[in-house]
């Protein structure tokens, strides 16, 4: 009988090594691709700065190093943070309900939540604008009619009208547009976290003396905290880069409602690719710093428990 040949296919240890290399190559490959994009952007801007005409260079400086850019950075980070907090405020109870309770028409409810992810963000923004316009028109129809005899003009219903005033072409509109999309992502992540949490722990908490809310708060939520952090990271990172619905609902007024992504888009559409790239890089650095901080926080928080972000 011939001796068995030690090929990598026959040797289980070598085969494991083989798989390990392929899996790690996939992870490293994709992150290298992202790094390449950022490095090329940086090189492109560097080359531009070295060769730009004095006029073009001045335009670049005046465009980037202005108070508006700082305003956009602050507005981007602030709105994404507020949106994430609001999204979690809805997503935590909603994800719990979808995971734990029997709800009539749950499939439909679940699908409607997903539709916020599936619909193109542009359509989301447009739909929000249409809704607010309809509310404004309803406000006009239901308001006080004009009195021609006394010369008093008609007044729209103040409550219905205020929604349009509050959101459209205003900062709250940024948050509303981001919230509509980010909440769906956060609900998904919270539902998955509650699905994975042991429901028996809540049962035991109930018998030990908790109310239903107490069992949720003290037994379910601590188990789902990795999902909470994942939800926060996903919602925040998606929101901070969101463009289309924000541009449609809140507009892109420099120094007022423009955020970094909308501003970058304006620069591209005006032909200033280099400014757009520079702003993109600023955003990438800030977003990655925040994500690394959040992940370190999650890791420290989870000492002992399994959490992966």
């Amino acid at each position: 009988m011939p001796a068995p040949v030690e090929t990598p296919e026959r040797n289980p240890a070598a085969r494991r090594q083989h798989f390990r290399r392929v899996a790690i190559a996939a992870a490293l490959g994709f992150s290298a691709f992202m790094a390449l994009l950022l490095v090329v952007d940086l090189g492109y801007i560097g080359e531009f700065l070295l060769n730009a005409s004095p006029d073009r260079y001045r335009r670049f400086r005046e465009n980037i190093f202005v108070a508006e850019t700082l305003h956009e950075v602050i507005l981007s980070l602030g709105s994404a943070t507020v949106t994430t907090a609001l999204a979690l405020l809805v997503a935590v109870p909603a994800g719990y309900a979808l995971s734990r309770f029997r709800i009539r028409g749950k499939l439909l409810v679940d699908t409607l939540v997903d539709s916020a992810i599936v619909l193109p963000p542009l359509i989301m923004g447009l739909s929000l604008l249409v809704l607010l316009s309809v509310l404004r028109r309803a406000g006009e129809a239901l308001g006080t009619p004009p009195d021609p005899a006394a010369g008093v003009p008609g007044r729209p219903n103040p409550v219905l009208n205020s929604f349009y005033e509050f959101f459209v072409y205003a900062k709250p509109g940024i948050v509303l547009a981001q919230f509509s999309v980010a909440t769906a992502l956060a609900v998904r992540s919270m539902k998955a976290a509650f699905d994975a949490a042991d429901r028996r722990v809540e049962d035991v908490a109930l018998t030990l003396g908790c109310t239903r809310f107490g069992a949720f708060w003290r037994a379910a939520l601590p188990q789902a905290r990795s999902g909470l952090l994942t939800g926060a990271v996903v919602a925040w990172s998606y929101t901070v880069g969101l463009f289309a619905p924000v541009a449609i609902l809140a507009g892109t007024v420099k120094g007022r409602t423009a955020v970094l992504p909308t501003r970058a888009y304006m620069e591209v559409s005006n032909g200033y690719l280099e400014e757009a790239l520079a702003l993109t890089l600023v955003m990438a650095v800030i977003a990655m710093t925040v994500l690394i901080a959040l992940k370190l926080l999650a890791r420290r928080n989870a000492a002992g428990a399994e959490v992966s972000l």
């Binding site: 042991d198 028996r200 722990v201 049962d203 035991v204 908490a205 109930l206 018998t207 030990l208 003396g209 908790c210 109310t211 107490g214 003290r218 037994a219 601590p222 188990q223 905290r225 002992g304 428990a305």
Partner: protein
Amino acid sequence: MIRLESLRYEVAAFSLEVSLEIARGEYFVLMGPPGAGKSVMVECLAGLRAPSAGRISVAGRDVTDAEPRDRGVGYVPQDYALFTTRSVRDNIAFGPQIRGLPSGEADRRVREAAVLLGIEHLLERPRVQGLSGGERQRVALARALAVRPHVLILDEPVSALDESTRESVCAELRRLQRELGLTTIHISHNLEEAFSVADRGAVMSGGRIRQVGPLGELLRRPAGEFVARFMRCENIFLGACRGAGRMPATTLAEASGAQFLLPGERRGQVQFAIRPENLIVELPGDRRERTGAAAVPARLARAVDRGAYVRLELDGPARLVAHLSPRAFADLGAAEGAELVAVIPPEAVHVIPG
């Protein structure tokens, strides 16, 4: 102490319908195959599921509509369901704290429960991860006992433990229950485990209680074929009575082409069960005169050594299973294929009622 009156609960195609009484201080074991409704029943008792009809009372108080926290029921689920984000001490202190006991009293309860279960040395562990199966179970028990429940529910408390620790844990559970005089319901599908802890028990299947009683009675006097099979009685026959036996107050019955002697005077069709350990197996030549017993010719098809006993599968007019002590089997000196006689006295036969 615990009374379930015509309790009903439905979910999808499954329905539970039970009535049961358990006395104060009793160690009661609830047995049955998976899906029998054992867990559903105790979850109704603990208030974790709302029954559609019936009444539940604990310690003389109607708790049918009470919240789980107001029932005086301690619950230890199968996977122990410890709070993984809390320390061992905080796990045990959870109940006393949530009930608003002063911190001195809560500390005292924690210490008391830990001493009772011999886990004081674990109290300072910052996490429950890394505890062994047995330790986790003790922590879960201490956590349930720290609120001083009237009733303790143990859902398959030892099934996650390895065989060697099961026996000692069962003895420990029994000691604990006696020491505290605590009414205990223990869910199990293992007969050895049930016998090592409980006085009385019930066999469930399909959401119904098939029989309740002392465990010896469930074993020797099963109320139906299901209970007989569940209690591992393998010799169950449907026979026809053929008149009085030679001994007074016996009946001759024919089943599977063999003749059996049943206790009592009976007519018509009867179902009867013979426990494998009650069969006497002899060589045909050795046969002593036993006028009062049925003798069924049998061929030894297979003998399996199970350690504590040898399981004999006998072919013949009727298929029989016998358990012999290893000593008795050695004395018999029979190899597979040997012709034997199964001797079955009427007192070894249990006629299944109905």
